[in-house]
Amino acid sequence: MAIELPPQTADGTAPSAFLDVRDLQVHFPTEDGLVKAVDGVSFTLEKGRTLGIVGESGSGKSVTSLALLGLHKGTRAILSGEIWLDGEELVALPEPAMRALRGEKVSMIFQDPLSALHPFYMVGNQIAEAYLVHHKASKKEAKDRAIDMLKRVGIPQPERRVNDYPHQFSGGMRQRAMIAMSLVCNPELLIADEPTTALDVTVQAQILDLIHDLQQEYGSAVIIITHDLGVVAQTSNDILVMYGGRCIEYGSVQDVLNHPEHPYTWGLLQSMPSLSSDVHTKLNPIKGNPPSLINLPSGCAFSPRCAFKDRVPGGRCMTERPELRPMAGNDQHIAACHLADDEKTDRVAK
């Protein structure tokens, strides 16, 4: 009788969740130096729950999601760390095995559906193809499945629209078709990379509702990648804030949005327009630019833009990289900041 060995993690502890990412690093060697796009990110996610990954452009959120799909395999990217999905480690998984998971167990909704759908093939064909690659089925069955999926994501007259090309769809319908394609194999992990950025505000809410409803139906784990804290507040259970390729704050949505512990998270919250505030109040953007991923500032990557660095004695923000640590005695809410709790009194009240 074959004995199933427990998965071997680096530190010997069993994967603690359906998705358990440990110290993930994605580095790209370039002529100018090593780009540390993702530099030590860890998080966990259970089925039926939603994680929001938030950060500016270049913070490493999309690179993280591509790593979960194994799409860095065969490129020059150097990956390390562990990605445990349902007891299987993905970083070291060979490409053929990874390919079998892609689209079947893990799938992705991309940002701009117009460029993410092939302009030369009918929408229905593209959905059916995603089904056929993982299932033994006839073309007819796959097409019926595509029509069924289009119907489920709310495309009117799916029998007719299945033969349309992407350019014949509106923006919102294209994103629905994209979602239909990513769900055609009932994935257990769904990654949505800025799924609403290219859409009208009214359509945004519909798409987020749709993702939520389908998650309820299939019980998938969902990761929503966005720079919009409003989207996270609306959809997620947990939130992970990334800056310069690292996680700088991680916790439940309630904890992070109500008691943000990192000055960068405060900045993100402050730079959001609010309906309740006076129209003459100016938006308060975070000053400065995201750091270069080749030459991260020594110490805390956010320190050059941080208004609070002077409150930390000894200039530690510029010399010593802060580790993630539990905040306000809450183990489930961690942040990487040297600032002592009692120095955060005049932070933004949210």
């Binding site: 799909l69 799409l71 065969g74 390919r99 079998a100 998971l101 892609r102 689209g103 079947e104 799938s107 992705m108 991309f110 701009d112 460029s115 993410a116 759908l117 092939h118 302009p119 030369f120 093939y121 193809e129 995603a130 690659v133 993982h134 090309y165 350019h167 394609m181 990513s182």
Partner: protein, 330 residues
């Protein structure tokens, strides 16, 4: 679709009329006198006038052009007392040199360039796109570097060098191929193939480099598209991602250039290759006609080349409408 085609064909006809007019005027701007050339060394003024009359050169430019144009629809008869040449409509005129109707000459030479051009084009398209695909998918690796540097060598070679080198090697030294010549395909397929193999190889060496680089860059550009990432994210095997999703999109810019290249090869641009291998095609005919001040043949070959370009332009545009569903012909 039908209306689109009709409109394009009408426009094509207008273009050809304009080109014929330009060729006509340019020809008479040249200092050589075709009648003097036909008259020979001992030429009396009365004989010159006779020839000039026989060739129709004594009439005004406008009349001559009108008669040429009329000949497309009505039979013409040329000649003086000694010889008469009958030219059935559509008549493109009769050669000053050989008294043969131009259309007969063109129809005789056309199969040579059709075989030469089409054969070479099919090879350099298929091999070039194949090499470009290999180079693009192995970017920066050995296969890519070999393909790119080989194509650099190819692009800097000249037809008369490659052609003569191949002839020397295969015909003279190793004697594994007959001297290049044109045998009609319908008459002797093996002879047709053997006779054209070296001319094809020569043209392929020259064009292949260009097509390799073109398809390499087009493939690389397409591989960076979001929809290729989507195809991979679906779990498709890389083979299918390349051969179906990437190739389909990468081939479209190549179609346009290929259409034009094929048209100009059929229209007689392969004149150097024709000369090197002693093939009598349209290109050689055109060069001879200009050298001999043979107006009707010059007109005929020019119009033929122009027609090839214009027709292939229409074919390319229609092919685009088939390949890319976003393009609607109207």
């Amino acid at each position: 679709m039908f209306r689109y085609l009709m409109r394009r064909l009408l426009a094509a006809a207008v273009i050809l009329v304009v080109i014929s007019a330009i060729t006509f005027v340019t020809f008479f701007a040249l200092p050589t006198d075709p009648a003097l050339l036909a008259c020979g060394k001992t030429c009396s003024p009365s004989r010159l006038a006779e020839i000039r009359h026989a060739l129709g050169l004594d009439k005004s430019l406008a009349t001559q052009y009108w008669e040429f144009f009329k000949g497309l629809f009505v039979d013409r008869t040329y000649g003086d007392q000694s010889i008469t040449v009958h030219c059935n409509a559509p008549c493109l005129g009769v050669s000053f040199q050989s008294d043969t109707p131009v259309l007969t000459i063109l129809l005789g030479d056309f199969p040579v360039d059709l075989s030469l051009g089409t054969g070479a084009a099919v090879i350099f398209l298929v091999v070039g796109v194949g090499l470009g695909m290999v180079a693009a998918t192995h970017k920066g690796k050995a296969a890519d570097k070999v393909a790119v540097s080989a194509s650099l060598v190819g692009v800097s070679l000249q037809i008369y060098f490659v052609g003569l080198l191949l002839m020397w090697a295969f015909v003279d030294k190793w004697q594994i191929l007959p001297a290049p010549s044109y045998t009609p395909l319908t008459q002797d397929p093996v002879g047709w193939f053997q006779g054209l193999l070296l001319p094809w190889a020569t043209l392929v060496v020259i064009y292949l480099a260009f097509y390799t680089r073109l398809s390499r860059s087009s493939m690389l550009e397409t591989l960076g598209e979001d929809y290729i990432r989507t195809a991979r994210a679906k779990g498709l095997p890389m083979r299918r991602v390349i051969l179906k999703h990437t190739l389909r999109a990468a081939i479209t810019p190549i179609i346009t250039i290929f259409g034009m290249d094929l048209a100009s090869l059929i229209g007689g641009t392969a004149v150097i290759t024709e000369s090197v291998f002693g093939l009598n095609g349209i290109g050689k005919q055109a060069v001879d006609a200009v050298t001999n001040s043979d107006l009707p043949v010059t007109m005929g070959t020019t119009l033929f080349a122009a027609a090839a370009i214009v027709v292939f332009n229409i074919i390319v545009d229609m092919a685009y409408g088939i390949v890319d569903p976003r393009v609607r012909l109207a």
